[in-house]
Symmetry: C2
Subunit: 342 residues, 2 copies
């Protein structure tokens, strides 16, 4: 066993045994994609698959953090353990995630049944969903019953985080503008459950009615594709959904409607367990595996031996001596045929 491997085993075992500091360190390793993280995930993986992974997304201002706080209270009242991974837009300079109103959750600092983690959305295009899925795997192994992935629904990579969950909740606040924000942002297509939050505001019932009408009148491509979809990795439209999303109303600030939301989450999970969400799980596995394949290949292209050949190929593209397709074929040939870049 190499040093990274044995350190990883210790970290993984400590995290599973309930050591919160070890858990936090392991999640940092996952976020930074270190060899420790890989070794730990290899060790933990067979023991996972029990947690319910719930993605929560929506336009800024829909009240995601407040709803997450209300859900935590509800889940704890039911005696279940809950972890939150909050994926935030962040600066490449600071590398830190914005905490926003998440500080209120510090009330749970001494509760072992609650674990909250912010994760930056920097770096590695397309790998954001894979990294947060790996973080969820660790929290699953650590024994949390629910893992909430909270992410702002305003970018492709960010939405993929929520869409990779077992159950995806899309939040909408009434009166956020002339049109329903979730539609504008293309979020409804990834929703298993739609929540109109800030239900005490005048437009809430009307917004919910609009959403229900819309979801009933459209034949969703997800529903249509549910029979014959193949695992398509990054193609959200190909993820089969068991049925049309429920539309619920909550007032997260008072807790109104939150018990009904938790019940809806449990129902969706049971339906998924009966096999309807098989395509979604295959797609999630593919995204995870693909992110690792990509990273391995990048490492090979930029490895000590391959780096000069890779840079020469890229420079030929920059100078318009070589088109990008021929360059890609050359790099691939060098990988699979034992050429200079392998």
């Amino acid at each position: 066993m190499n040093p990274a491997g044995s350190r990883a085993e210790d970290l993984a075992d400590a995290a599973v045994a309930g050591d919160r500091r070890a858990l936090a360190r392991l999640l940092t390793a996952v976020e930074n994609r270190t060899p420790t993280a890989e070794a730990a995930l290899r060790r933990l993986y067979p023991a996972t698959g029990r947690a319910h992974l719930v993605g929560i997304t929506g336009a800024p201002g829909a009240g995601k953090s407040t709803l997450v706080a209300a859900l935590i209270a509800e889940v704890r009242a039911a005696g279940r353990a809950v972890a939150v991974v909050a994926v935030d837009p962040s600066s490449p300079i600071t590398g830190g995630a914005l905490l926003g109103d998440r500080v209120r959750m510090q009330a749970y600092a001494s509760d072992d049944g609650v674990f909250i983690r912010s994760m930056a959305s920097r770096g590695h295009a397309g790998g954001l969903a894979a990294t947060s899925t790996s973080a969820a795997t660790v929290l699953d192994a650590a024994g949390f019953d629910l893992v909430l992935l909270e992410t702002v629904g305003t970018g492709q990579s960010e939405v993929e985080v929520a869409a990779a969950a077992d159950t995806t909740v899309v939040l909408e606040a009434p009166e956020m503008g002339d049109e329903v924000q979730a539609i504008k942002a293309g979020l409804l297509e990834v929703a298993d459950i739609v929540v109109v939050n800030k239900g005490d505001r005048p437009g809430a019932q009307r917004t919910a009615a609009q959403l229900r009408a819309m979801l009933t009148s459209t034949v969703s491509p997800r529903v249509a594709a549910a029979g014959g979809a193949s695992p398509a990795g990054d193609d959200r439209a190909a993820r089969p959904r068991p049925k049309r999303p429920e539309v619920l109303i909550t007032t997260a600030s008072t807790g109104e409607g939150v018990p009904a939301l938790l019940a809806a989450l449990d129902r969706h999970r049971s339906a998924g367990r009966e096999g309807l969400a098989d395509g979604a799980r295959l797609a999630r596995a593919e995204a995870q595996v693909w992110a690792i394949v990509s990273e391995r290949l990048r490492d090979r292209f930029h490895g000590t031996t391959a780096a000069p050949a890779t840079e020469e190929t890229l420079r030929a593209v920059v100078e318009h001596r070589l088109d990008p397709y021929t360059a890609a074929d050359q790099l691939l040939a060098s990988l699979t045929g034992g050429g200079p870049a392998n």
Copy 2:
């Protein structure tokens, strides 16, 4: 020459000769990543490299579309040809891009020196920047002097589109909230030029002063890395910038400040031509080539022969019989070693 190849040659030649319909068809092929697009881009690539590629991004409401319209007018007044690729968040259901206030640009419908194209931001994680760069390559070959890439600055993939340009302009409107939106969204780090738009509003001078102070007091990692950065593909922080971004004030709705912005764009381009932006061009080439390599590999994994082996591997991951790292290693071995998935 196969049929796709000869059709592609015809399309490419027609597009370069000024046939706008052929150009539009070619861009559709690029957006859908068809074999026609590949054959056409191979043919066009040696003739490209003359256009100035300008990314324009900012938070929603900063006035990107209005500024693009004002820039078009300015560029046309100078007798230069300009193309716009507007990358928008869009629904996977409709596949269409939101046009917003871009309809005003229909005034240029009969002007051969202006070409405007909306492009959906759907599908292919990490490939959005590569697709829009390919679209820019086509427009470059078609003889446009300036190619503007307009994208909303609220997601990782979307920001990468603007950051992949020769010159990246980040827009900020005064009084959009308590804090400067571009900082919150991590946009300043990709800026070559910062524009405070809506300059006729009370807070404009103060916002510009704040931004200048911020940009002067911070030692940007881009500036620090400008000497020894390697091409890092998806790592925005590694893109070397020649110097601290200029901060300009415009009022796009009246055209005030827009001539100064065009002059700043030209200055930045001249500086880049002197070799300072070499790292940025290498990074852009790598992103393009890498997107093609990824697509080729995905095709192999899901090809007729490989598909059953790939699905069996993924199913083992879903059922927790195999961890994702071992699965990735198996798929890679089958690719490079002539195993069952090759």
